[in-house]
Symmetry: D2
Subunit: 276 residues, 4 copies
């Protein structure tokens, strides 16, 4: 469906994340190894935190692999917190307002997966969105609705709880419409300080998700690897699939769990939907 | 805001409608004479009835004046019923799903104008849409919501009544939110057989709207005008602004009225919103 | 690199060629079976002969698989002679002027392959183009330059000879610049009456090319196959790869040969570059 | 035809240049005051010098006024040297490779105007380009050819002389083809340290060109103007038309002259084509 990465650490040029790794996100846009679709060519997006009040967004309907503006931007913009996403549409239109990451104030959100039978449940889900937030909806994806549900359920106060309630509501609504397995997701969200990443699916077989391991351990393990020495100790990546083949560098996020990344420390917590 | 034309008559190449007139729609995309905006460069759309079950649509986010595919298509495709629209966005995203005409089954719909303070009323309007129709909403414009309201209020059974109820509902909703003049519109809709065009605004000063006059009368008036002799007697155009300067060729549609065009006969009726 | 099809026969809706076959060109845009690249997502083009003086062209930089306008057009436009092409760029920009088929007057041209080390030979090749034709060059591909060379060498008088001289000139120029294998190509060209298709490469291992076999034979072989009965007897397809798995329906075009399709009869000729 | 601005001074967010002025370049894209065309909606480009070896480029075929990525980028990227251009095509395709500024190594180039009867002279001009530079040509505009001629005539060693020779060669070539007034131009070019801007036309009635005046003088003149106090003393703008109405802030560049801007000092020199 899609692939994404969430970076936090010392400021790096976007190209270090998007182009240079062996299995970079741009390479995954044409040849994903672990995705449901090998091709993720239905647009892409990058969000980064610079000096502004809100993070910057560059969204495009072009495939990432042939977009020259993405290459230019990636060679010029450095950031210490980056969300990037490549899209394989499950049917909704290929347009910038359907590209991830979605933004609300300082928050970014991106999703790989699907709300099953979305046409059937879309209205009920939409009605549950806080009327104050409603005018911000711009696209037509299940992912954006999930974001707005999480926002409505208190994302900015308690992200894990808000996502649990949003997912619980999606499952409850789906089942009321006779959907056996209402949601499939890996989700990342951030306020610019902390990253929360979730791996969950109603069927219990979720899309792949990994996080990078401690850089200092890796350095001891690979004393001659120059790349590792350029990274700050607090660097962490959460990714749909590993960006390279370095043994020990990636750890799979277990089913039904949430990874919280704060100042270079990741914490793994169980995740379960909550029904109100 | 926008400009549009609705054609019915003998099959003509699209270029006869879109490029060749002195004040063609493509020319209006850069230099509209009567529009609120002189530039209508935020995408365009053409809908035409060919051999298929549903009308064809060509929608683009490019300005009409520089779109080469529109020029190509216009030189190849002929049709006896054509809707065409050039867009000047009032804020919503420039994307194909926001381009007019909108389609539902055999129905086409296009709009020039605005639902005032749309962000404030959007949710209430959206909730009034028939849940069966709801999944068809793809874009984020006021115009599409107005279409879906009209469909929900029975467009396919009694178009003038459905539009009257949709507009009445928009006005009632707007006023409940403190909007003084909730709607401004010229709208055209067709099922492929009849065209209905509406000119109305809450403030009573609606965007311009014209229809072409009887071709046979024009022929007598201008016996040497070759263009007129190529047109079938039942040819009728309803347009945001005249496509040329031929005296007697265009008649303004009065405020608060509806023009019904069927088999080359136009009928003018008063139009007033209906509150349920 | 790319994939294409050249159709001639009774008029069919474009969707019959582009969407409905098991291994349709749109499916190949994401998952080509025999291509050098499985993904051909760097734009596409369709050329068709309608009523106009010149064939119509619809060119787009979007991947064919997600382009809604292509789907619409394909459901509305029927033609008896169609060229269609999906692109996998070998480096030149993704823009409409680099999409195939290229057009000159009534002629269409499309190419799968590459002129090796094009940057090195581009200038010399460009200088050999007839100065009268030169202003028509709009893009930056090797494929367009090859077309203009063929036009300069007399494509409209004797296509096989003109292509042989163009290819001979490319090989001679390449070798002068130290290029071992200067050209790799399957090419199709038509004037709207006859289709010529070429399979050739300097290295003698050319990209795949097939033509469909006699429809009446197939009908006898598969008396229950409804699709075959809808096709006129003179229907012929030349394709980069078979559109389906029907045994006996496709015949590989041999290395270094040219297929000429005229009124449902295909003629196979040897092809060899000619050096002036 | 087009409008542009060339900024040098203390680093500013792009939005300060492109969006905030009363008559900003984005406003000019829809409503230019002094341009030959009021609408400059055929794409745009921004080039800026950041930390990289070469300046960054963001080029788009969308109208500047509705491009959301431009707005995002402008809110995030700051630079001390910026070239920006909005395009009104005189016929060549609307594609990124035809958007200004053009780049070669550290050099940027942008142009407002036209090489008259370009189709007639294009081949001769192209042949005069240094064969080493030739492979870099990507688009189909007269402006890019003019850039490559200037590069071929020594732009990186002596810009005024190289431009004079390039323009001389264009005039000579045009006249040989019977063109009365071969060139119309305002051009800006920079290596990232110095900006050179030229105003010239064969007919002696060139497109408008202005440069900003000394900031410290303006500050004394308008002691209460906050904007002026944020600008560093070496800030200079060269623009197709003034970005605002502040009296004394802009000085017209005379016909047939060149402005050289280096470290906040502008020098005005006469400019005349040189025929080899």
């Amino acid at each position: 469906m899609c692939r994404w990465l969430a970076y936090s650490g010392s400021p790096v040029l976007l190209e270090e994340l998007l182009y240079k790794p062996t299995n970079s996100l741009v390479i995954q846009s044409k040849h994903s190894r672990l995705g449901v679709e090998t091709t993720n060519g239905d647009g892409f997006g990058v969000g980064w935190y610079g000096g502004g009040q809100t993070p910057g967004l560059f969204l495009s309907t072009e495939p990432a692999w042939n977009d020259r503006n993405l290459r230019e931007l990636s060679a010029q913009v450095a950031a210490g917190r980056v969300f990037a996403h490549i899209r394989a549409s499950t049917g909704s239109a290929v347009q910038q307002t359907n590209c991830h990451p979605f933004r609300h104030g300082r928050w970014l959100w991106m999703h790989n997966g699907v709300i099953a039978d979305f046409a059937a449940v879309r209205r009920d889900l939409t009605l549950a969105i806080d009327p104050v937030l409603f005018p911000g909806i711009e696209g037509s994806t299940d992912s954006e609705i999930l974001f707005y549900l999480a926002l409505s359920f208190g994302l900015s106060e308690d992200p894990p709880s808000a996502v649990a309630r949003a997912v619980g509501f999606v499952e409850e609504t789906g089942r009321r419409h006779g959907v056996a397995h209402p949601i499939q997701m890996t989700v990342a969200t951030t306020d610019g300080e902390v990253t929360w990443a979730f791996r969950y699916s109603s069927i219990g077989r979720s899309r792949s998700l990994f996080h990078s391991t401690d850089v200092s351990t890796l350095r001891r393990q690979y004393p001659d690897n120059a790349v590792l020495h350029d990274l700050s100790a607090d660097t962490r990546l959460v990714v749909s699939e590993p960006l390279g083949d370095l043994e020990g560098a990636w750890r799979e996020v277990p089913e039904s769990s949430c990874v919280v990344v704060l100042k270079g420390v990741e914490e793994l917590r169980p995740f379960a939907p909550v029904v109100s």
